[in-house]
């Protein structure tokens, strides 16, 4: 009886500390008694509060870093524009020079537009403003759309995209998944030689439907399989190809919001990225 009172008082003290904003350590002994179990639950609660607070802190830091990165990325094309605008303003510039300046400014403007659009998509995805609206649709249609979107660029480079997909219905958001797949194709085209191939396959397994995009391009180094999905990461083999390290990151985010996952595999030659989507409805 006395022991129990002591234990209850200890619980009460810990709750008091928790209310006072302290975190609890795991000092107490684990025993197979009710007070010990409640003690354990209070500590879990404390951990949960602490975990949440730390997560919020980390997210704040992330946002700070992101803003700094955005400013940094925008600075280059803006500086270019400034230079060419100055040149345009000079009176003795020839018609040819003027034309050159205008094209350069247009290119910079294109870069800024691309960046802002990517950032807006990223922000919408991250703040979960965009709800992935899953509908049971034919995956093949979504894949065909993405391939169609990639057509201009693929024809320009003479890259043939081959699709092999059965008529499978999968719960997904056609717009967002379409964008995820388009990003994979865009990435593959960027790092492939002229006149090569990209294979797109969709297969149904027990738990997930797998969409595979495989190219025969420059590929990645060992150990980069997970890194390439990180925000702003550029592959170690990348030399001349332009990019911001956003495409694969966005693809992964979209897939995660579908309750699925992505997996990259080194091929010789090239890279294979597999997207796994859960077969049935899945809450997130």
């Amino acid at each position: 009886m006395f022991q129990e009172k002591k234990e209850m008082e200890a619980l009460s003290r810990n709750l008091e500390r928790l209310i006072g904003g302290e975190y609890l350590g795991m000092a107490e002994v684990s025993r197979d008694t009710l007070p010990s179990k409640i003690q354990h639950q209070i500590i879990r609660l404390s951990d949960k509060i602490r975990g949440n607070e730390e997560r919020i802190g980390r997210e704040k830091d992330e946002i700070k870093k992101l803003i700094a990165e955005i400013a940094h990325q925008l600075r280059n094309p803006l500086a270019n524009m400034e230079v060419y605008l100055e040149m345009l303003a000079e009176e003795e510039a020839s018609e040819e020079e003027r034309q050159f300046c205008i094209e350069a400014i247009a290119a910079s403007e294109g870069r800024i537009r691309f960046l802002t659009e990517a950032f807006i998509r990223m922000a919408r995805l991250e703040s979960r403003i965009i709800q992935i609206k899953k509908e049971s649709l034919y995956l093949r249609d979504t894949l065909l759309n993405s391939i169609l979107q990639a057509k201009t660029l693929s024809e320009e480079k003479g890259i043939q995209i081959r699709l092999e997909a059965a008529e499978i219905k999968v719960p997904h958001d056609a717009n967002w998944l379409g964008e995820a797949v388009y990003n994979l194709l865009d990435n593959s085209m960027k790092y492939s030689e002229k006149d090569s191939y990209i294979d797109v396959r969709a297969v149904q397994n027990e738990m997930f439907v797998q969409v595979v995009v495989r190219d025969y391009g420059i590929g990645i180094m060992e150990g980069e399989e997970n890194l390439i999905f990180q925000r702003f990461y550029r592959g170690k083999r990348v030399t001349v190809q332009e990019g911001f390290g956003l495409g694969l990151y966005l693809s992964r985010e979209i897939v995660l919001q579908h309750g699925g996952f992505v997996k990259a595999r080194r091929m010789s030659p090239g890279l294979e990225i597999a997207v796994y989507l859960p077969v049935g409805e899945r809450r997130r």
Binding site: M26, S30, E54, F208, G259
Partner: protein, 226 residues
């Protein structure tokens, strides 16, 4: 938040002629919500390490701190209760109770701790692991992949601080193995669960957020989050 840490962890076996250092000073640190692969060739000490993290084996030297509490200080009764509340296991051979159905197997850890079922949470897990149709089936009627899904569900229901999985795909074909690891990965995100998977399969390890490499009883890479 740090969930798990080891300090100078050693396991030394004395034989009449020599000393075998299965673990030779392991320092690792794991943050809440991380999905980590522990990789090493057979005999590297990775399974010994996992067993120690789960309190299934005692170190010769060093500390194992799970959520701020040192496992090596506990007596066996305390350790049993602590383990049940804080650590979930997933084994290569599933270790389901053959006389219990899927639902009973899943909720066994709760029953052992005298806890009620959190219906809503249970339903989320059942849905995520696609076990709805199999709830009242017996383990021996399920495929390997299905049995492992039940084992994962069982590990998740008690909301342990850490889930330790020892070669969870060892008995599965590679396609099913990838799916099972994918489920662990998506569960880690969905339920903010910390998961450590021991594997010798590089392809599977590549799916983790971080890879800890063990060689000859030492960490050769990835011991701490940078």
């Amino acid at each position: 938040m740090e969930v798990l840490r080891t300090k100078g962890l050693k396991k030394i076996y004395n034989t009449p002629s020599s000393q075998i250092r299965a673990l030779d000073g392991i320092d690792i640190s794991v943050e809440e919500g991380e999905f980590i692969a522990i990789v090493g060739s057979s005999g590297s000490g990775k399974t010994t390490l996992l067993n120690m993290l789960g309190g299934l084996d005692n170190p010769t030297e060093g500390e194992i701190i799970v959520r701020g509490k040192n496992l090596t200080d506990m007596d066996s009764e305390e350790l049993t209760v602590f383990r049940r509340r804080n650590i979930g296991f997933v084994f290569q051979n599933y270790n389901l109770m053959p006389i219990l159905n899927v639902h009973e197997n899943m909720t066994l850890p709760l029953k052992l701790d005298g806890l009620g079922e959190d219906r809503n949470f249970l339903e989320q897990i059942i849905e995520s692991l696609k076990l709805k149709e199999k709830l009242y089936s017996m383990p021996n009627t399920l495929s390997g992949g299905q049995q492992q899904r039940v084992a994962i569900a069982r590990a998740l229901v008690a909301r342990p601080a850490v889930i330790l999985a020892d070669e969870p795909t060892g008995n599965l074909d590679s396609k099913t193995g990838t799916e099972v690891i994918g489920l662990l990965k998506t569960s880690a995100i969905q339920f903010n669960q910390t998961i450590l998977v021991v594997t010798h399969n590089e392809d599977i390890a590549q799916m983790a957020d971080r890879i800890i490499r063990i060689e000859d009883g030492k960490v050769s890479g990835g011991g701490h989050e940078e």
